[in-house]
């Protein structure tokens, strides 16, 4: 039976690990390579690096980080942030990532999803969606795709976008709730479940994870295949093992590593 995955998200700016709350007020919390290695050794299932480097001439630093992680960490990891073209994707895959996370670039140019899927296979393409609840308006699901850390609305319906992303060739979808991100009050379960029940590809819940119970809810009520955590681990409030043991004790299939 397939295990539910615990994934940690590492935000990297100018080669340093940072934690952002709602994509603003970033704080330097260390070296991404040693954090990645520590999580790998602790039994984490997968890693996501999100490059939030502002200036494009600093982007080369991220490739160095990716290469160094690939030399030390033998679990899958993906890289997102600032990837616009298939060529950008190729660079991070060649540096050692398994997957690319497409977000803003895919909204601006959905064709990049299929181009990347054709070039590298669907398993290498993760569609990362930033989503906000929208109580008013005409969106059928009540959830809207946003970009630029939630500062820009797109008018796109979240469910429609998930469906389209899958059709274009995404192999996985990260559902990141901008409303829940950084709150540590739990994942957006309604949204996560809606998307998980719409698509036939794995769905990763993101945004809001603060306690192991939240992951349990995302993986059961939210129907997610994996849950993304950041602060919970980065600040040392929980260990990989304590989260996994909790989920396993609750009856979920989890990969436990001694």
């Amino acid at each position: 039976m397939l295990s539910k995955r615990l994934i940690s998200c590492l935000d990297v700016r100018d080669g340093r690990l940072v934690k952002s709350v709602r994509f603003v007020n970033t704080k330097d919390i260390g070296d991404p390579v040693s954090a990645a290695r520590r999580y790998y050794e602790a039994g984490l299932d997968e890693l996501v690096f999100y490059d939030i480097t502002a200036s494009s001439d600093q982007r080369g630093i991220m490739l160095d980080v990716v290469e160094e992680v690939a030399r030390q960490v033998f679990i899958p990891f993906s890289v997102g942030g600032g990837l616009r073209t298939v060529d950008d994707c190729r660079k991070v895959l060649e540096a050692g990532a398994e997957k690319v996370n497409l977000n803003t670039a895919a909204v601006a140019n959905p064709g990049v999803i299929s181009e990347a899927a054709d070039a590298f296979g669907v398993q290498a393409v993760v569609l990362s969606m930033d989503v906000k609840a929208k109580s008013s308006g005409s969106l059928p699901s009540g959830y809207e795709i946003v970009t630029h850390g939630g500062r820009r609305d797109t008018g796109m319906d979240a469910i429609e976008w998930a469906r389209r992303g899958e059709a274009l060739g995404a192999g996985e979808i990260v559902v990141n709730s901008i409303d829940a991100d950084g709150t540590l009050e739990g994942y957006e379960l309604t949204l996560t479940r809606m998307i998980a029940e719409t698509v036939g590809i794995p769905v990763i819940a993101s945004g809001g994870g603060g306690r192991p119970e939240h992951l349990y809810d995302a993986l059961t009520a939210g129907r997610a295949d994996a849950a993304l955590v950041a602060s919970m681990l980065h600040y040392g409030h929980y260990s990989v093992n304590s989260i996994k043991q909790f989920l396993s004790d609750k009856g979920l299939k989890i990969r436990l590593t001694g």
Binding site: M1, L2, S3, K4, R5, Y40, G43, D45, A70, R71, Q72, F74, I75, P76, L93, E94, G96, E98, F120, G121, V122, Q123, A124, G171, E172, G200, I201, P202, R223, D225, A226, R255, T257
Partner: protein, 206 residues
Amino acid sequence: MIHIVDYDAGNQTSVKRALDHLGVGSIITSIPDDLDHAERIIFPGVGHAHSALETLHERGLDVALKSAAARGTPILGICVGCQILLSDSEETDQRCLDLIEGRCLRFKPEDAALKVPHMGWNELRVCSAHPVLRHLRTGDEVYFVHSYYPAPVDDTDVLAKCRYDVEFAAVIGRNNIVATQFHVEKSGPVGLKILDEFVKWDGNAC
């Protein structure tokens, strides 16, 4: 020295890094002549079987791989490199390498909760003792990403199984060939141990 076959199928550098980590020398090559003199060959792969076969053929690597297999060179196939060792595949009309008799089939789960690709960590059931799997135990989890799975005709070619909708062959092998449907280079310490045993293996299955 390990030769890693390069046919633009993606994960050869990940395999090389894992070997570097184990302190084992390796080179990535797309030259058929190199395989003629290889001590051991790793045949990795991600993506489509169809384009993989085309590239192998264009570069003459299909013939070189078959010769190496016939000569007794130890070969490790990984993921797509495992699938196209079989006779054919539901993913393509082309004949595969036919080094192990069988077919590659697509997952077709009736349960909508079972997603395709089968992506993530899943546990193995060891079916047959093999030097390369010396440290592998039933219940060990490894990392899979695939929509097709190998189905050898002969059950004795199945070394370990995994369950996802159906029970499928996760490790196959015959004589000097062993192949994993999962990614040994991304399966943490469990995968690295398989790789480490392969680099010491003399090619005898027992």
